[in-house]
Point group: C2
């Protein structure tokens, strides 16, 4: 198990505590290469940098762990790994995280952590995005480390698809309070948002986005948000076909389209 | 039909030719409010701005068309519309585009145009992302305008779901060369990419992302890429549940999870 190559990125930046904690676990499985954003990239979704060049610098190389910082998005970091730094190597697993904050439900769409995990799965190796439901800079990651270790081992040793992508969210709290792992579906819900408007010193308006998540199916026991609320680690397998097959035939009528 | 309220955004910026061309069509249906990015936001996916404030300025107000520019992403522009500028109004339709370049197949994930359209559909009104397969700054949008008009009319007059979201791609070429509209599913494919590495004047490396799309199912006649290749306008209905239901039971075994 010690001879694996694991690539790690995140969206909180290479210096975040969450990535440090998952590196500690990942290096138990072999060599670790990290390419993570220079700066906070929360909410960057699947964004890529097309109109400015990227830079890459070595942060440190020691103990079978190489860390690079890139001035792009989380998805840029994954592309930089597979298309430049690790182009001739076989990567066994992509890890993104551990994110500071939830990526359950609709958050998966906005999440830079999950954007990177999804991108990783496009390169023919399994990918896992880990998130802890705690935004504190000094959050307690000990229970997260326990479950990261367990899930990484299961995926690396398991008979899994090479395009497997998992969205793993971990409740806040000590290990003893967490009841186990639940495989779930993405919960339906929405963000109700408003902009806080302020005046700059010259009198011009500027706006900060704020919001609150509303769960549309709080009683649905097969959802990630239900699992997290009941102190389970939620694991949602991810795919990227966005086609809404249920609407195809009615659309054909509305648009008078062929076939 | 003249009394509709249509909100428009894009990812190429408020000054792009594609948005000008769809505004011309949309104002035939009523009042138009545009909030579009100040600058090019191609490849911004579903990104939101969380760690810096947004600004908004009036570009012009005339002929029942109001245009604002926002310094954020396409999704920020949609939130700015529904959570600030149009907060007390009923929007009948969200349009994103017309994008300069394809958003078919996996491009839907990276696309700022489609990020905005998807976000629009979260606010309880139908949303359409339009893209023309032509990157030229002075592309010919006449066929696009024809199909935009037809599809907007069908959606506004049709009995459609309030969460309907469409990914519409239009082949390059004159109107007579286009065979009609096809309702499709998202084609499977991937980008094979590489970084072009250059030296800055100080001798440090910098990298430009380049790549080529590979269609994994070129013969599948029900896909958007097949339709476009055969000169049809492709229309893919979009949903945002990323759960891979086909992997749930095998994952439960691998992870020894509950239920």
């Amino acid at each position: 198990m010690k001879n694996r190559l694991i690539f790690i990125t995140n969206d909180d930046g290479f210096g975040a505590l969450g990535i440090e904690k998952v590196i500690e676990v990942a290096k138990e499985f072999g060599r670790v290469v990290v390419i993570a954003p220079e700066t906070m990239q929360s909410g960057q979704s699947h964004a890529i940098t097309m109109y400015s060049p990227l830079s890459l610098r070595v942060v440190s190389k020691c103990d079978n762990v190489e860390i690079y910082a890139c001035n792009g998005t989380p998805v840029d970091c994954v592309k930089m790994a597979f298309d430049h730094v690790l182009v001739d190597e076989k990567v066994d697993l992509v890890i993104s995280g551990i994110n500071h904050g939830s990526n359950s439900a609709i958050n998966v769409l906005y999440s830079g952590t999950m954007g990177a995990a999804i991108e990783g799965s496009f390169y023919g190796c399994p990918a896992i995005g880990f998130s802890l439901l705690d935004h504190d800079l000094d959050a307690d990651f000990s229970a997260s480390q326990h479950y990261c270790r367990e899930i990484i081992a299961s995926v690396i040793d398991g008979d899994v698809s090479s395009s497997l992508c998992l969205n793993v969210n971990i409740p806040k709290g000590e290990l003893e309070t967490i009841k186990g792992i639940k495989v779930c579906r993405q919960c339906k819900g929405f963000w109700k948002e408003r902009f806080v408007c302020r005046k700059d010193p010259r009198g011009a308006d500027y706006f900060w986005l704020t919001g609150e998540f509303f769960n549309e199916e709080p009683l649905a026991e097969d959802t990630d948000n239900w699992a997290l609320y009941h102190n389970y680690v939620s694991v949602v397998p991810i795919q990227v076909d966005l086609t809404d097959y249920s609407k195809m035939s009615s659309l054909q009528n509305i648009l008078n389209s062929d076939i």
